[in-house]
C-alpha cells in the first residue's frame, strides 16, 4: 500500500500540519482560528483514520506545538487525539510530545486537559521563548 505523506502549510488562521505515514509521524504547529474549524480538521481526521498500523515499526509520534488555538479548534484537537487513541488500540504505541512556551500556561493547560480524555502517553516540553519585555504603555 502506498504510504501517505501530507504537508499542509500554515496560513494566518490555520496551523502547519504534517502527516507522514511511513515514519509514523504527525505534527501540528502554530495558530488555529478558522471561522469553521471542522472544515480544516475533517481531512486530517481522514488521514489518521486511513493510517495502516501494520506497516510501521516503532512508536507513532505526534508532536503538538500550539500557539493560539481558538475554542472550536481546541475541540478539534480532541478529535485528533481520539484518532491517535484508535491507532494505539489497533496495536501501535503512540507517544504525544506537547511543546509549550514556558510562559504560556494556557497552552500547557490545554494539553493537560486533553490528556485526561484519552489514554495516551503525554510528554510535556517547555520551550524557552525569550521574546517579550514587560514594558507597558503607561
Amino acid at each position: 500500500m502506498a504510504k501517505d505523506k501530507v504537508v499542509i502549510d500554515s496560513t494566518p488562521v490555520t496551523p502547519y500540519v504534517i502527516f507522514d505515514a511511513e515514519r509514523g509521524l504527525f505534527e501540528i504547529k502554530g495558530r488555529s482560528s478558522p471561522e469553521v474549524s471542522i472544515n480544516f480538521y475533517d481531512p486530517i481526521y481522514q488521514y489518521l483514520d486511513g493510517y495502516d498500523v501494520s506497516d510501521t515499526a516503532g512508536d507513532f509520534v505526534a508532536n503538538f506545538t500550539l500557539e493560539y488555538f481558538n475554542t472550536s479548534s481546541t475541540k478539534c484537537l480532541l478529535g485528533i487525539l481520539k484518532r491517535l487513541s484508535n491507532i494505539q488500540k489497533r496495536g501501535q504505541n503512540v507517544v504525544i510530545n506537547w511543546y509549550y512556551d514556558e510562559d504560556d500556561d494556557d497552552v500547557l493547560e490545554i494539553g493537560e486537559d486533553l490528556s485526561y480524555f484519552v489514554n495516551l502517553e503525554f510528554n510535556f516540553h517547555p520551550i524557552d521563548v525569550d521574546d517579550q519585555d514587560m514594558d507597558f504603555i503607561f
Binding site: R31, S33, S37, I38, E67, Y68, N70, T71, S72, K75, G79, D101, D103, D104, D105, D106, E109, E112, D113, Y116, F117, V129, D131, Q132, M134, F136, I137, F138
Partner: protein, 538 residues
C-alpha cells in the same frame, strides 16, 4: 507537424554549395568607388567567417542592407524590383533558400509570407516551451499555415471560413485576424505573460531578418493591441502608421464597446453586493441592539459597584463574549457578577450568548440563586442539553468566571469554567483558578461539576474577570500572543490606579500591541472583555 522549420534545415544542407559570398559581393560591387564600399566589403568579410548555420540566419538582413545601398547609391536610382531581377538572373538559387524566399516573391505577396513565418514561429516556440500538447487546434493551424493561401481544402482555423478572401491582397488581413485569435487562444490556455513573451520573441525574430523589406511595417498588425507600445508604432513610416492606426480603430471601438458593457455589468454586480452587504450589516446591527438590550446596561455596573469598569471590545458587531451582573436581595444585598466567553465570535457566538444571557435571567433574576457554583452547574445542565442536539461533532460551550459579593458576611465567592479570577489585597495578587471544563461541554462518561472558592472582603479588594481575548491577541514586534503572564503583570502594575484610568490603559495597551511601529497593524482575533471592580465594604 513543424514542416516550416524542418524544410528550412533540409534546404540549408542541399544548398550548401551556393556561395552567399558571391551573392553579397555582386551587390557590393555595384557601389564600388562609393565611400561606404570599404565598410560593406568588411561586413561581407565578417559574414563569411560565420558558420553556415549562422550565415543562413543573418543572410536576409545582410542582403536587405546591401540591397538598400544599391538602390540609393548606384548613381541612378534603381527600384528594388530591378535589383532583385538582376540578382535572380545571376543567382537563380536564391529563390530556393528558405530565409530568402520572402524577399524574392512578388511584392504584393510579401506581407502574406511574413505573416506565415511569424505565425509558424509562434507555434514553434509554443511547442518548444510546452512540448507537444496534442492540442488539435495548434496542430491544425500549423498544417494549414504551411500552404496558405494556395490550398483551399482545409477549413480556415478559428471558424473564420466566412472571412475567406476573394483577392489575394486580403489574405494579409485574414492572417492578422488568425494571429490575434491564436493570441487569445494561447492566453486563455496558458497565461498572458507566457503568451506575450512568445509573441514578442517571434516578432523580434522576423524584425531582425526582414525589417529592411519595403512593407515590413505592415506586420505590426499581427500583434495584439496590448503588445503595441509607443516604441513599436513610432518605428513606422507616416503612411504605415496611418494604416496601422486606422486598422486598429475598429479593434479599439469593438474593445471599447466590450469594456463599457463589462463595466456596466460589474457596476450592477457591485450594487447587488453593496445592497446585500448593507442588508446584512443592518440586520446584524439590529441583532446587536437585541443582544445589548438583553445584557445589563453597562452604566448600571457603576451603580452596583462604584469603582468599576467594563472594557468590552467585540471583534465583530455582535459578540460571543458577554458580561452579566445583578443585585439580589435589598435587605442583605448580594451581587452576582459574571464574564462569559461563548465558542466563536460574531453571529454564531452571539446566538450562543443569547442563550447564556437568558439562562442567567432565569437562574439568578427569577429563581434568586446567588451561589456561583450552583449558577454554573445549572447553566451547564441547560446548555449541555442544547449542545447535545447538534450532530456535527462540534460542541458549543461557554467559558465563564462568576463571582458573588456578599455585603452582609463580607465575602466573595467564585466559580469558574476555564476562566480565572484575579484579585489584589494590600498589593498582593491572588488567583482563583476556575475548573477546567467549559459550561456545556460534555465528554462521554465524565461527570462534570464545579467547585467554589471564597475570600473574606474585610479589606479593600480589587477584582478582575475577563475572557481570554486580551491575552490571546496577536501583535507586538514579534508577532506573538500577548500571553497570560504579561496580562497578569499589566493588571498587577495598574490595579491601584483609579478604575476609569485602568480602562483607558487597557485600551491604549491593546492599541499599542496591535499597532506596533513599522509593522502593519494586526487584526483583532477574538472578542475582548475585561471587568474590573474595587470592593470596600464598611
Amino acid at each position: 507537424m513543424l514542416g516550416f522549420l524542418r524544410s528550412s534545415r533540409d534546404s540549408s544542407e542541399k544548398l550548401a554549395k551556393h556561395s552567399f559570398r558571391d551573392l553579397l559581393l555582386f551587390l557590393a560591387d555595384k557601389v564600388q568607388g562609393d565611400s561606404e564600399y570599404e565598410s560593406l566589403t568588411a561586413r561581407i568579410g565578417k559574414f563569411v567567417n560565420q558558420s553556415r548555420e549562422k550565415q543562413l540566419q543573418i543572410l536576409p538582413e545582410t542582403y536587405l542592407l546591401l540591397e538598400q545601398y544599391v538602390t540609393e547609391l548606384d548613381g541612378e536610382i534603381k527600384s528594388r524590383e530591378d535589383v532583385r531581377a538582376d540578382v535572380l538572373a545571376k543567382f537563380p538559387w536564391v529563390n530556393r533558400i528558405q530565409t530568402l524566399q520572402v524577399i524574392f516573391i512578388p511584392h504584393a505577396r510579401q506581407p502574406i509570407e511574413l505573416s506565415k513565418i511569424f505565425i509558424a514561429s509562434v507555434l514553434a516556440r509554443t511547442y518548444q516551451l510546452l512540448g507537444s500538447t496534442g492540442d488539435k487546434m495548434l496542430i491544425n493551424l500549423s498544417d494549414w499555415i504551411k500552404d496558405a493561401p494556395d490550398h483551399v481544402g482545409l477549413p480556415i482555423p478559428f471558424e473564420l471560413q466566412a472571412e475567406l478572401p476573394k483577392n489575394e491582397k486580403d489574405w494579409f488581413s485574414l492572417l492578422s485576424k488568425i494571429s490575434h485569435k491564436l493570441y487569445q487562444n494561447l492566453e486563455n490556455k496558458f497565461s498572458e505573460n507566457f503568451t506575450g513573451k512568445i509573441y514578442e520573441k517571434s516578432y523580434q525574430d522576423i524584425a531582425e531578418k526582414y525589417k529592411g523589406l519595403e512593407d515590413f511595417e505592415m506586420t505590426i498588425r499581427l500583434l495584439p493591441m496590448k503588445l503595441l507600445d509607443a516604441a513599436k508604432v513610432n518605428l513606422l513610416s507616416q503612411k504605415n502608421k496611418q494604416k496601422v492606426l486606422i486598422g486598429q480603430v475598429d479593434d479599439l471601438t469593438a474593445l471599447n464597446r466590450k469594456i463599457t458593457q463589462q463595466a456596466k455589468e460589474l457596476q450592477e454586480k457591485n450594487e447587488i453586493i453593496s445592497a446585500k452587504n448593507r442588508e446584512i450589516t443592518e440586520s446584524i446591527d439590529y441583532a446587536k441592539r437585541i443582544q445589548f438590550s438583553r445584557m445589563p446596561d453597562i452604566k448600571d455596573f457603576n451603580r452596583i459597584v462604584k469603582e468599576s469598569f467594563i472594557f468590552f471590545k467585540p471583534r465583530d458587531i455582535v459578540s460571543g463574549d458577554f458580561y452579566w451582573f445583578k443585585k439580589l436581595d435589598q435587605k442583605d444585598p448580594k451581587y452576582v457578577i459574571a464574564a462569559a466567553d461563548c465558542t466563536g465570535h460574531g453571529v454564531p457566538g452571539a446566538l450562543m450568548s443569547m442563550i447564556g444571557i437568558e439562562q442567567f435571567e432565569r437562574i439568578v433574576s427569577y429563581r434568586k440563586i446567588a451561589d456561583p457554583c450552583e449558577i454554573a452547574t445549572r447553566l451547564h445542565k441547560s446548555i449541555s442539553k442544547l449542545s447535545k442536539r447538534q450532530d456535527d461533532g462540534i460542541q458549543d460551550g461557554m467559558d465563564l468566571s462568576i463571582c458573588t459579593l456578599h455585603s452582609g458576611t463580607k465575602k466573595l465567592e467564585f466559580s469558574g469554567a476555564k476562566n480565572n479570577l484575579i484579585f489584589f489585597q494590600r498589593g498582593n495578587m491572588k488567583i482563583f483558578k476556575g475548573d477546567r471544563h467549559a459550561i456545556g461541554e460534555v465528554h462521554d462518561g465524565h461527570e462534570v461539576f464545579f467547585t467554589k472558592q471564597s475570600v473574606k472582603l474585610n479589606q479593600p479588594t480589587t477584582c478582575y474577570l475577563f475572557s481570554d481575548g486580551f491575552e490571546d491577541q496577536i501583535g507586538g514586534n514579534f508577532n506573538r500572543k500577548y500571553k497570560r503572564v504579561r496580562f497578569y503583570k499589566l493588571l498587577e502594575k495598574m490595579h491601584e490606579l483609579p478604575m476609569q484610568r485602568q480602562k483607558e490603559i487597557l485600551e491604549q495597551e491593546l492599541h499599542h500591541w496591535m499597532n506596533p511601529e513599522g509593522i502593519d497593524p494586526y487584526a483583532q482575533i477574538d472578542d475582548i472583555l475585561v471587568m474590573g471592580f474595587k470592593i470596600e465594604f464598611d
